[in-house]
């Protein structure tokens, strides 16, 4: 187990480095600089500013500086757009927000998805099953950027129950719509995967044996069927995580929640490279760590898996 974890880490770290170097090369090759504005600065002033930010150094030195700054002190450098803030400040401001509703969306997607899938599989061909299948088919065409306007239309404009945006420190009524918009399509996928996986497991011999020796259904499901059922769901969690963290950009922009997504898009319009890079690297790191966690969990649940 330990050697497995070490080996997975040995892959995760180069992946991370590739991501950092790749985004740095992209940024370096960008035409124009952060200080090329409509009103061009005198060349001497420009040279001074570039020297201050280390932009006059050769490419390899810049990249070494940047990477070592990120790795050793988690320092993404100053923002090119917000005068008084570094990239770290931007992340510190936006990230807790993203983390809050991201966490709840994830919890909702997994718990609701798995329970719906299990319930549908146990009561196959009942109204519950049809409902679950119907929801999971319907939600395929409702990605977050379609869900968000629809929710806003119904709950804010027609019913007037929920505020149409804002954050207010994460009060529950500001949290509901972002969480639903972000989690629905993943909830549906998880339900679908759980359902088909559970159906498959319920047809196996060891479940028949468990039922034959007279165990109550509840115990069969929890003690015997749940573990193999959850494996395919687990391997879906990695892509779901990427999808949600990407979707958070939409949520931030649409509901003005003030998460990193909003900074990301604003920076994309303002060509604030360091913020874009910082967020890209942060998100990439999270994704890679999460995948690592999923892999370890997977290997722990299913000892047959070793790669």
């Amino acid at each position: 187990m330990l050697s497995f974890v070490v080996r997975r880490l040995a892959v995760a770290i180069p992946t991370l480095l590739i991501l950092v170097v790749l985004s740095f090369i992209l940024m370096y090759s960008a035409p124009g600089g952060p200080f090329n504005s409509e009103r061009p600065l005198p060349p001497e002033v420009l040279a001074n500013i570039e020297a201050k930010y280390g932009l006059d150094q050769p490419f390899w030195k810049q990249i070494v500086n940047y990477v070592s700054g990120v790795v050793t002190s988690f320092d993404f450098g100053p923002s090119f757009q917000y005068k008084d803030r570094t990239v770290n400040d931007v992340i510190a401001q936006g990230f807790p927000v993203t983390l809050t509703y991201g966490f709840w969306s994830f919890v909702v997607a997994v718990t609701v998805g798995v329970s719906l899938g299990v319930a549908a599989a146990i009561k196959q061909n009942s109204w519950l099953d049809y409902l679950a299948v119907g929801i999971s088919i319907g939600a395929q065409v409702l990605p977050n950027f379609v869900m968000a306007p629809i929710l806003l239309l119904v709950f804010t404009l027609w019913l007037g129950w929920l505020p149409g945006g804002g954050w207010e420190g994460g009060q529950w009524n500001y949290l509901i719509m972002p969480v639903i918009a972000l989690s629905t399509s993943y909830m549906a996928s998880i339900a679908r995967i759980t359902r088909s996986s559970m159906l498959e497991v319920l047809n196996t011999n060891f479940i028949r044996t468990a039922q034959a020796k007279g165990l109550p259904m509840r115990r069969v499901i929890w003690r015997h069927a749940m573990k193999p059922t959850i494996l395919p769901v687990l391997s879906y969690l990695g892509p779901a995580f990427v999808g949600m963290i990407t979707g958070s950009v939409i949520i931030d922009v649409f509901f003005s929640t003030g998460g990193i997504g909003q900074f990301f898009v604003n920076s994309a319009f303002n060509r604030d490279y360091s913020v874009i890079m910082g967020i890209t690297i942060l998100v990439g790191t999270l994704t890679i760590l999460f995948n690592l966690l999923v892999d370890i969990l997977y290997a722990w649940i299913d000892p047959k898996i070793r790669y």
Binding site: V11, P14, T15, I18, L19, L22, S23, L26, M27, S29, A30, P31, I137, Q140, V141, P143, F145, V146, A148, P149, L152, L153, L157, G238, V242, I245, T246, V249, I250, V253, F254, F264, V265, A268, F269, R271, Y273, I276, M277, I279, T280, V283, G284, T287, I288, N291
Partner: protein, 308 residues
């Protein structure tokens, strides 16, 4: 006693009838596909949507970038959908004909989906087949690269690229092409692993056929079924991907538009009651995505019957 002559002829006829033509895999699949009602209806819907995107422009009374200045500011009563004014789907908030824009946006979205799927089919299949066929260390390295690329949140990298190299439809295609083949490579590799141990590949190896030719002539054709299924299922994902970027305003640039951008514009004005501005693009988006998923499911059932 002679057997009844008519009876003998009858047997002969029956034997002739019994010699039915052998049914190919594809003919079988076609029958199965057309028995699936949801898939057939979806296929018809898709054709209608494609027809709308291709020929709808001929029915539009306005160009998609024509601004009707007389309508700006009076959208609520003059920009409503109506046949009389020629704005069948109404106008957007800038007084442009929404019908023409929806036609154009649907076209872009479909094109993005198809291009993404094409890249996936060509690059992904060849990459996966090569990795699977050679196996061993080559396979390990090639698939490790795919794993690494897959664990990068590409939407962010693509937006970074769009910002740096400028937003253009070419960059969008490039970005979509960069990621779309990853899943396909995995699927093609998995399938190749089972195919390469079949007798016909062994024969090809034994008779000294060049590996490149084996992959192209013997392995890739046998991957086609599964590749077609996943390409069909990939198209809606690519459309969603592009719409996502366009929704943020980072994708297709004005005056061109795509369904994602139109949904975004519509969602901003729905609070004033201009529901048609979001309804029509949303309708075409949902129909297209739904239809592709159902056609893909139908194709999977048809080409891969064991997976039911």
């Amino acid at each position: 006693m002679f057997p009844n002559r008519a009876a003998v002829e009858g047997v002969g006829e029956a034997m002739e009838l019994a010699e039915v033509k052998g049914r190919s895999l594809w003919a079988d699949a076609r029958t199965r596909f057309f028995r699936n009602r949801a898939a057939v209806v979806s296929l018809i819907m898709l054709m209608l949507v494609a027809g709308f995107a291709l020929f709808g422009g001929a029915f539009a009374e306005y160009e998609n970038d024509f601004v009707d200045f007389s309508l700006i500011g009076s959208n609520a009563y003059k920009g409503v959908p109506s046949v009389e004014t020629g704005h069948y789907f109404g106008t957007d908030s800038n007084g442009r004909d929404l019908f023409a824009r929806t036609v154009q946006g649907t076209g872009i979205s479909l094109m993005v989906g198809v291009v993404g799927a094409l890249v996936a089919v060509i690059v992904g299949t060849l990459y996966g087949a090569t990795a699977g066929y050679y196996g061993g260390r080559v396979d390990g390295l090639m698939m490790r690269i795919v794993d690494v690329l897959m664990s990068i949140p590409f939407m962010f990298v693509l937006i970074l690229m769009l910002v740096i190299f400028g937003r253009s439809i070419f960059m969008l295609f490039l970005g979509i092409g960069l990621i779309s083949w990853l899943d396909m490579a995995r699927i093609a590799r998995g399938q190749t692993l089972t195919i390469k141990n079949k007798e016909f590949v062994e024969v090809a190896v034994a008779t000294g056929v060049h590996p490149v030719k084996i992959i192209l002539r013997h392995i890739v054709p046998n991957l086609l079924g599964i590749v077609i299924v996943y390409a069909t299922l990939l198209v809606p994902n690519m459309i969603i991907f592009e719409s996502f970027i366009s929704f943020l305003g980072l994708g297709v640039q004005e005056p061109a538009t795509s369904l994602g951008a139109l949904i975004n514009e519509g969602s901003r004005t729905m609070q004033f009651g201009y529901y048609w501005q979001i309804a029509y693009p949303l309708f075409f988006f949902v129909v297209t995505i739904f239809a592709f998923f159902f056609v893909g499911d139908g194709l999977r059932d048809a080409l891969d019957p064991k997976d039911r």
